[in-house]
């Protein structure tokens, strides 16, 4: 700690931070643009000028940029100094010379950092009497809008996009006051993280394109803290709602997980909640046609079904643990299925088992950023957990920071630190069957088939610790690879192993776990991360249940009366004939879901569940972090959360007493009590009766407009604001809102004078540190387990003569289930193309998967061995998930022509 003096006030500053951070942390409003807490300082905008004095006798002082000046012990500065103030006012005036006065039509209006800073500096009068320079805008694709005339050239966009996220297709062009930020030519931004530009840009140059179609001012929208539903990372988000519709998704700061940034699947994937694919009433389905029925009738019907024999329930990794637990409780643990078919079921179960018991540290994303060696073993992280790949990419920065330490440069001094490491690669070693987006930034990218990767992993573990299971008949090449990788991990102080369930390979997971455990025996602070298939896979696997295969067997044996499928589409797990057999062999199929899936289309009785925006619940991320999402939309009946449907089914079928939950709090408490592993989930967020300063927290701003008019097309009568027993947030603007609110309840970021997302600094205890309102989520796993080594190395994967090994090629856009009901993501998804190994040009392939034959466009990929092909899951064959052997006929480019 260093004591510094801001306008005569003694303030404690953290060691090594800069004056801008120190001022903000001290609660002093100091305007800035180019500085960003995660991107550091570059001194471009000159907005954060303060006066610094040499000592107490120095009365003249010198203007310095706070963001570029270290907060050293005894530093004396003045923010209020007239000269500094005048200069800051002038900086805004300069910026405004070319900035259009289009705030009324600008989507940043009302949450614009430039507006805030303009008001803060007091620049009011326009004295620039000349023409503004103008730019042409570009079409940047379906996610981000571009209005270059609003640019104030703070360089944040390129610093985020290129330096922080490794994107290549956004740049700075031209010179002097004509600098242009955009692409080489119009076209879709390629980065999976492009949506962050919307929040990174302090003005309205980059805005949220889908949001612009349903635009509303920030102050007119309700907000609620939520959790991303599109992968197992569990990024924290804020959902905004107006007039019953979710309008957009914003990043919500979670120190340990996503911090300042989301991936585009998370930001734009939530459109499914408003999509036509939503199921909005209960109904009977006959020959694919649904006939709506009143809820009472649906429940009666269920009661009738229940008499026809045993009920089996299928849970889902995309439903909350409360809903899953409700179903399991209703049907009984023996009749509950995870919803995964083998081998995925086994793989996820094993993965979660490993995560719960490993002696390595299951690291939150932020902790992994400071790893000095990362081994990615058989998982295309950039596709299956995009935000994780962004975190791993930061290991490169950590390497730069180490050089900075040697040169005694503070880490926030961005440009020199980057320059020091300009030829550094990220200390990442990728071993995957196919190329991944991480390869370019990685130290090395090796290719091998899944079982061979597992063998390599076992061999690495064994090299690190002889007690780990050995691999027999290693080739020289395998030995060399294993030795090199083991050595790289061993010289690291903080090695991290990353793998996942993409290839549904238990052996691969064992291998990863063994390496991590072996590193621990060598005294390393090793980390282990396993990517899981869905947002709540951890929760479901922890509860455990039957595989889908087991359910199918039972059904075929005539042991299933009613099959209740909750928030799952079995056609993504079972091929067409298996699914058909299952549906035919159960007496009744009941589906609870928020959207009309192919499974729902086959259901006999279908009931509409709320989407995550319309209810509350808990999800457990891949690092065992239980996080609560709260409702932001107040849905109309008959929509209700899945666990309420389960409860109603239970009651209707005479199972009173099994499930008497009325509120989310009761559901959470019962789940915590029923599954010992979940005991702590009650701490994940305050209960619905939570009050701060004697009041509930409001989820609308004080300025919200049109509260009665908004329903005028339905009725002009004033109706009371909607209520819900499941959320501690009040649906209207009555109530309290402070920067000290529990972190899990923050519905939006805004403080007086700070209307943009930059106001976040007021909610943090220190910049980039913990929120004032405490932790976000609770870990349901202990610090460290004691598990030993497990598994045996598989045999070398032998390719076959007449069959091709089809491997899943996950995509950030396209292979996700719910995100693909969202228009912007659909627009970003590219066509399903099969990539076939070998050098011969290919135009199409026809593949037989199970009994079905698919005729699909294809290209050849010389990086893949002959006899292997890649196929995006669910985009060609709906069910196809795991590696499988298929017959594949190629149609050459010539033949196609």
């Amino acid at each position: 700690m260093a004591t510094i003096y801001i306008d005569g006030r003694a303030v404690e500053a953290r060691n090594g931070e800069n004056l801008l951070q120190a001022c903000l942390e001290a609660g002093t409003d100091l305007p800035y643009f180019c500085w960003h807490p995660e991107l550091g300082s570059v001194g471009a905008c000159r907005q954060c000028a303060v006066k610094q004095f040499q000592n107490a006798d120095d009365k003249r002082g010198r203007i310095v940029m706070a963001c570029m000046t270290p907060a050293t012990e005894g530093a004396i500065i003045s923010v209020d100094d007239p000269e500094a103030k005048e200069f800051r006012g002038e900086v805004v005036e300069w910026l405004m010379t070319n900035h259009p006065h289009d705030c009324p039509v600008c989507e940043e209006g009302g949450e614009c950092h430039l507006q805030d800073m303009t008001v803060m500096t007091g620049h009011r009068e326009r004295r620039f009497k000349f023409d503004k320079r103008t730019h042409k805008n570009q079409d940047l694709g379906p996610l981000v809008k571009h209005e270059m005339n609003r640019c104030i050239a703070c360089y944040r966009c390129v610093r985020f996009y290129r330096d922080y996220a490794g994107g290549e297709d956004l740049g700075v062009f031209a010179q002097h006051n004509n600098v242009y930020f955009g692409r080489y030519e119009s076209g879709t931004l390629e980065s999976t993280f492009s949506g962050n530009l919307v929040e990174v840009c302090p003005t309205g140059v980059f805005t949220d394109k889908p949001f612009s179609k349903v635009y509303s001012r920030k102050w007119d929208m309700r907000g609620a803290p939520s959790v991303c539903q599109h992968c197992s990372v569990g990024c924290n988000t804020i959902l905004n709602e107006r007039a019953g519709k979710v309008r957009r998704t914003l990043n919500r700061y979670n120190e340990d997980v996503n911090r300042y940034f989301l991936c585009d699947r998370g930001r734009y994937g939530n459109g499914f909640v408003n999509a036509p694919s939503r199921l909005r009433s209960a109904g009977y389905v006959m020959d694919g046609q649904m006939t709506p029925v009143p809820v009472a009738q649906a429940l009666e019907q269920f009661a009738a079904f229940a008499k026809d024999g045993p009920i089996v329930g299928i849970g889902s990794g995309r439903a909350s643990i409360e809903s899953n637990y409700a179903l399991r409780r209703f049907v009984g643990a023996d009749n509950f299925s995870t919803g995964w078919a083998e081998p995925l079921h086994g793989a996820v179960t094993r993965a979660v088992d490993i995560l719960r018991t490993t002696s390595a540290r299951v690291m939150p994303l932020h902790e992994m950023e400071s790893a000095d060696c990362v081994l990615v073993l058989g998982e295309d992280v950039a596709a299956t957990a995009p935000r994780l790949s962004l975190a791993l990419f930061q290991t490169r920065r950590t390497a730069c920071n180490k050089l900075a330490d040697k040169n005694r440069l503070p880490h926030w001094l961005d440009a020199p630190v980057r320059t020091l490491g300009s030829d550094l690669k990220a200390p990442i070693h990728v071993v995957t069957p196919a190329p991944t987006d991480m390869d370019v930034s990685a130290t090395q990218a090796l290719r091998a088939l899944p079982d061979d990767i597992a063998r390599l992993g076992f061999a690495i573990a064994n090299r690190i610790d002889g007690a780990a299971p050995a691999v027999s008949d290693l080739t020289e090449e395998e030995t060399a690879r294993a030795t090199a990788l083991a050595d790289a991990l061993l010289v690291a102080e903080k090695p991290v192993i990353v793998s996942g369930t993409q290839y549904a390979s238990t052996a691969l997971l064992d291998a990863a776990a063994n390496i991590a455990a072996a590193l621990v025996t060598q005294g390393k602070a090793a980390g282990l991360t396993l990517v899981l298939p869905e947002a709540n896979s951890f929760g479901v696997a922890t509860m455990g249940g039957l595989s889908l295969d087991a359910v199918c067997e039972r059904a075929q044996a005539g042991q299933v009366g009613t099959l209740v499928v909750m928030e799952a589409d079995l056609t993504r797990q079972l091929d067409a004939s298996a699914f058909d057999t299952l549906v035919r062999s159960v007496r009744h199929l009941v589906v609870i879901d928020h959207s009309v899936t192919p499974t729902a289309e086959r259901g006999e009785l279908v009931v509409p569940a709320t989407a995550f925006s319309e209810c509350g619940g808990t999800m457990i991320s891949m690092e065992g972090r239980a996080q609560r999402f709260l409702q932001v939309v107040y849905p109309e009946a008959p929509l209700q959360v899945s666990w309420r449907w389960v409860r109603d089914f239970a009651h209707a079928s005479g199972h009173e007493g099994v499930l008497d939950w009325e509120t989310l709090d009761q559901a959470v408490a019962a789940t915590a009590a029923g599954v010992p592993a979940f005991a702590r989930i009650v701490e994940a967020a305050p209960k619905a009766d939570y009050e701060l300063e004697g009041e509930h927290i409001r989820s609308q701003t004080h300025r919200v407009s049109g509260r009665t008019a908004i329903r005028a097309n339905i009725s002009v009568r004033d109706i009371p604001p909607p209520t819900s027993p499941d959320t501690p947030l009040k649906s209207d603007m009555e109530g309290t809102y402070t920067t000290d609110m529990p972190a899990t309840l923050i519905p939006f970021y805004q403080v007086p004078g700070w209307n943009s997302v930059q106001s976040l600094n007021k909610f943090q205890q220190e910049i980039g540190g913990e929120l004032r309102g405490g932790d976000v989520g609770v870990r349901v796993i202990g610090e460290r387990g004691t598990a030993g080594y497990a598994g045996v190395a598989p045999a070398r994967m032998a390719l076959r003569e007449n069959e091709v090994l089809l491997l899943p090629e996950y995509r950030a856009f396209g292979t996700g289930e719910t995100s693909m009901w969202s228009d912007p993501i659909k627009a970003r998804a590219t066509e399903a193309v099969i990539r076939v190994g070998g050098d011969a040009p290919v135009a199409r392939v026809s593949i037989q998967i199970g009994a079905e034959v698919f005729d699909v466009p294809a290209v050849n990929d010389p990086a893949l061995p002959l006899g292997v092909a890649l196929c995006p899951p669910h985009m060609v064959a709906r069910s196809y998930e795991a590696p499988c052997w298929v017959t594949l006929r190629t149609i050459s480019a010539e033949a196609a022509a």
Binding site: E168, D169, L170, G171, V172, F173, A174, Q175, R183, Y184, S422, D423
Partner: protein, 161 residues
């Protein structure tokens, strides 16, 4: 202009790239030697240089558009750069400019219809002792008087016809 950069230039570029810490270190010179041969940097060539040096198009075009001497648009057979900086201004570059524009029938920054001349302003050419100064291709002129322009232009017209 050929679709692809001549092989000898490619070789030179790769050689330069090889000798730098990062290949990108060669990008400015690469663009300049390509421009030297073909007059300007067309999109196709830019892409090819970017690929040779492992840079993205956005990256290399950001560099190209930063510098005054890298042309991303076609220029005439002769590029006339007339100094517009202070010493030349004091010594009458404005009069020379007027004369040049009239003679060529173009404004500053434009190319004559016959594609023979492009007229560009340039900052101080380091020829202030012979102001006003002018550079035509690689030849320096100065002091240039308005009445010299006809002769100079005609001489160049002949050379390139």
């Amino acid at each position: 202009m050929p679709d692809v950069i001549d092989a000898d230039l490619v070789e030179t570029i790769l050689d330069m790239a090889h000798h730098d810490v990062l290949p990108r270190g060669a990008c400015i010179e690469a663009m300049k030697i390509v421009q030297d041969r073909y007059g300007w940097i067309c999109d196709r060539h830019l892409k090819q240089i970017a690929d040779l040096l492992g840079m993205s198009l956005a990256d290399i075009d950001g560099v190209a558009t930063y510098y005054n001497l890298i042309f991303r648009q076609p220029v005439g057979e002769n590029v006339i750069m007339l100094c517009d900086s202070v010493s030349c201004w004091v010594m009458g570059t404005d009069g020379v400019r007027e004369k040049l524009c009239r003679k060529l029938g173009v404004k500053m920054g434009q190319t004559t219809e016959d594609g023979k001349f492009t007229l560009l302003p340039i900052v101080c050419l380091g020829h202030c002792d012979h102001a006003p100064a002018m550079l035509i291709n690689k030849e320096i002129y100065g002091p240039v008087r308005p009445e010299d322009i006809d002769g100079i232009i005609e001489a160049h017209r002949e050379k390139t016809s």
